[in-house]
């Protein structure tokens, strides 16, 4: 295994350096970097051209310029752009926003995409599966800049207008209710009667909920309150416990219920400490949650149920913590919305410039500027994760060992989670590596639409100004991400699949 990793590492580094050479040569040959100076009045022209030639080393051959650049990079200096700004500084400013966007979109699309794909595979040829398949094809065919512009119009501008008087029309409520009913009824595999009932109940609950929220203008001043927090925490406890050890009152379920109850208690206990916390404090709370839940799972689970009780408790605790976090964030929404003059969803830039507010206001501010770009980026990479996890899950479900697992009488939950799902996930690791390049490209386009001054701006301006250094700064980050992800994927693949590891 160590030899495999070393070999992989060495080839990756070599390939990466050859790639920087190729990209540099191309970026330096995009066109004439002095074109704009040649239009200057004659008295300034000579000096300006000489100045830039000196700065960009245009009097040296391209290969020499590459090695000068490489020498700088190896000592941590990315050079300057054509007017003399420090590229290190530009990259530092650009990197944060793009990383947030790319990471959020990648993580969300893996979680949601794999989830949808697996469910759609388990319900092959149901209405849900057909709908998902069609949706995936539509997502594959969407031009990302078009979607981003649409989202900016409807998700930001019109949504902000709507928030001024947030009430839903009856037909909107009806459509959402019908949709929820259809989703829930197609998730079940039972007779027609039960499914119709599920459809009716889900649709009715959604409709009533939306009508109440709309009538009380909840959307303008949202929040969850202790009752909703308690209900969600309880549902999460039951859900996680069912997933890991079945729907019955056993120590696992007991541990999960205790964690959910502890979460609800801490919601009240922590109220005074959450007015304006720091990220450090929140991280500490998360660690504390994990520790307490681990202890609960360990001791309540006992010898027999420890293996399922510990992860279930931790998941329940973290989920409850997340719900409390969201609740607190939502409570700040009204005041935040007022402080940005009623435009909470931002259309330009990665954050409101010179904004000052509490922890929650800043959280909402970056959420408001991240949500739409992330959604746009999510749409393009979600599709491939859904498609591939569905295909891989279908293939695994046909394997002999799944039949064996069923034949020896394991419950369907164990068959799917332990035997099928784990193996079905293996091919997804390669997809993550492939996908990262697409996501980075998509991020460039989306940042352009939303007017972010981030990595995309670095690249596009660099190309338009025939200026290699900013382009190379983009490539250093993007190429490193691709190489690292590919390497991790290979190693994880080898780790997960003994056939590769041992050959």
């Amino acid at each position: 295994m160590l030899a495999f990793i070393t070999r992989r590492l060495v080839t990756s580094v070599l390939i990466f350096f050859s790639a920087t050479f190729v990209v540099y040569i191309m970026a330096a040959n995009l066109g004439d970097p002095l074109a704009d100076l040649r239009e200057l009045p004659p008295q300034d022209r000579e000096a300006a051209i000489a100045d830039r030639t000196e700065r960009m080393n245009l009097d040296k051959p391209v290969v020499a310029r590459y090695f000068l650049w490489l020498g700088g990079v190896l000592t941590g200096d990315l050079g300057t752009n054509r007017v003399g700004q420090d590229v290190n500084l530009m990259l530092e400013r650009a990197l944060g926003a793009t990383l947030q966007l790319v990471l959020a979109a990648t993580v969300l699309s893996i979680v949601i995409g794999v989830g949808i794909g697996v469910i759609s595979a388990l319900r092959q040829y149901s209405a849900l599966d057909l709908g998902v398949t069609f949706g995936v094809f539509v997502c594959f065919s969407l031009p990302v800049f078009w979607v981003a512009t649409l989202l900016k119009q409807y998700g930001a501008i019109e949504f902000n207008d709507w928030l001024a008087d947030p009430s839903l029309a009856w037909w909107v409520i009806g459509l959402i209710a019908l949709f929820m009913g259809a989703v829930f009824s197609s998730l079940l595999v039972t007779d027609r009667r039960t499914r119709l009932m599920a459809f009716g109940v889900a649709a009715a609950v959604t409709a009533v909920l939306l009508a109440v929220l709309s009538a009380t203008a909840w959307f303008a001043d949202p929040g969850l309150g202790p009752i909703v927090i308690g209900l969600t925490a309880g549902a999460a406890a039951v859900g996680f416990a069912t997933l890991f050890s079945g729907l019955e009152w056993n120590p696992t379920m007991k541990a999960a219920a205790i964690c959910a109850a502890l979460g609800l208690v801490s919601h009240f206990a922590l109220l005074p400490f959450l007015d304006d916390p720091t990220w450090w404090f929140m991280g500490l709370l998360a660690l504390l949650t994990v520790a307490i839940c681990w202890a609960v799972g360990y001791f309540v689970g006992g010898e027999l149920y420890r293996r399922s009780a510990v992860p279930v408790s931790i998941l329940t605790g973290l989920f409850t913590a997340a719900v409390i976090f969201v609740d607190r964030m939502l409570q700040s929404f009204a005041s935040f919305s007022e402080s940005v003059r009623g435009r909470p969803i931002s259309t330009i830039g990665a954050s409101t410039p010179n904004y000052s507010g509490s922890f929650w206001d800043h959280g909402l501010d970056s959420f408001g500027s991240l949500i739409l770009p992330t959604m746009a980026l999510l749409l393009i990479s979600l599709a491939s994760y859904t498609r591939y996890s569905r295909a891989s899950m279908l293939e695994v479900m046909n394997q002999d060992y799944v039949r064996t697992a069923r034949a020896k009488g394991l419950p369907e939950r164990t068959v799917i989670l332990r035997h099928a799902f784990r193996n079905g996930l293996i091919p997804i690791t390669t997809l993550v590596a492939f996908d990262i390049g697409t996501v980075l490209g998509g991020a460039v386009i989306i940042e352009t639409v939303f007017g972010w001054r981030a990595m995309g701006d670095l690249l596009i301006t660099g190309i338009n100004e025939r200026d290699p250094n900013p382009v190379m700064a983009f490539f250093l980050v993007a190429g490193t991400a691709i190489v690292v992800f590919n390497m991790i994927a290979d190693i994880v693949y080898a780790y997960l699949d003994p056939r590769i590891r041992l050959s």
Binding site: S141, E395, I482
Partner: protein, 331 residues
């Protein structure tokens, strides 16, 4: 939805022939099987119909090259604004109380200087399709040859080609495509298509190489080699026909992603340059008009989606037709 094809089961006793059992069996070649499976794929057929409609509309309406089309306006000429430039297309039939199905003066509306938007969008569709097809064909051809050579020859040739492929994969497609488009692609749309195709073949190369690696160990290749067949002949006559399924699917998927790539580049201002136009360039030109003249934004987008979606469905149908294993119903 693969129908079990009626075929004589192996190990049948001679006495019970199919005719004796009353079964109507027809021998089908591999090609016939593929075509049959493809024609049964409803999504693919719908995609074919939609794609045919888009192509026919784009080509016949404003004509191609010197041949005039049936639409009397072009994408350059301007006219007075009719009805504020709103689309005059009517799809609400008269017997339902609407204005009847009609095209009107400017079915897709007009832009702010009075150009007929139908002609503009049709022109953009033509250009986008031409580029996408060139990219798809070039990328697949290059990828197939590189993949087949790398798979068939071991040693230095394979190592070099696969390292080159790895190198290409390290560079994000958008960055690579943007650079080659700026360097060589601004002159005309054909060169743009060629250079984009030259940087998007990696996926096909990897797929073809994987298949060829398995095929080269088969007996028929060994037989060919033992009678002294040249390497080129083995690759093109014996190996590539066996990976035709992958190649055909690759072409369609490459075309549909090329449409999106080209429109994204043109949207960023790095692809098709004036006086040429393409769907992505049109969207970029009119994206600020989203509030005041939304139709300038919707029509080109709808055509991009329609084209890419129909090609994706065709590709899916082809994949199922060539490789029906993926579609097994769970036992």
């Amino acid at each position: 939805m693969v129908q079990p094809t009626p075929a004589a089961a192996p190990g049948q006793t001679p006495g019970t022939s199919d005719a004796a059992q009353g079964m109507n069996v027809k021998a089908r070649t591999q090609t016939q099987l593929v075509i049959r499976r493809f024609l049964r794929h409803r999504g693919a057929i719908a995609g074919m119909a939609l794609l045919f409609f888009v192509i026919a509309l784009a080509v016949t309406s404003i004509g191609a090259g010197p041949i005039p089309g049936w639409w009397d306006k072009n994408h350059i000429g301007t006219a007075d604004l009719v009805n504020g430039g709103r689309p005059t297309l009517g799809l609400w039939p008269g017997f339902l109380g609407g204005g009847g199905v009609h095209l009107g003066e400017h079915p897709f509306g007009q832009d702010n200087i009075g150009r007929d938007y139908f002609a503009v969008v049709m022109r953009g569709t033509q250009v986008s399709l031409v580029i996408a097809v060139i990219v798809g064909v070039v990328a697949t051809a290059v990828g197939t040859v590189i993949g087949a050579v790398a798979g068939y020859f071991r040693g230095a040739a394979e190592a070099t080609l696969m390292r080159a492929t790895d190198l290409m994969i390290t560079i994000p497609t958008l960055l690579f495509a943007a650079m080659v488009a700026v360097m060589w692609g601004n002159q005309n749309i054909v060169t743009l298509g060629l250079v984009l195709g030259a940087v998007t073949w990696t996926q096909t190369a990897r797929l073809v190489r994987g298949e060829v690696l398995a095929l080269r160990e088969k007996e028929f290749v060994e037989a060919a080699r033992s009678v002294g067949t040249s390497a080129a002949r083995i690759i093109f006559k014996h190996l590539l026909p066996n990976v035709i399924g992958i190649i055909v699917v690759s072409v369609t998927l490459a075309i549909s992603s090329a449409i999106l790539l080209e429109s994204a580049l043109s949207f960023l201002g790095l692809g098709v340059q004036a006086p040429d136009t393409s769907l992505g360039k049109i969207i970029n030109e009119y994206r600020t008009a989203m509030m005041t003249r939304p139709w300038l934004f919707y029509w080109p987008g709808a055509f991009i989606i329609a084209t890419a979606l129909s090609i994706n469905f065709i590709g899916d149908g082809l994949r199922d037709a060539f490789d029906p294993r993926q579609n097994r119903v769970r036992a």
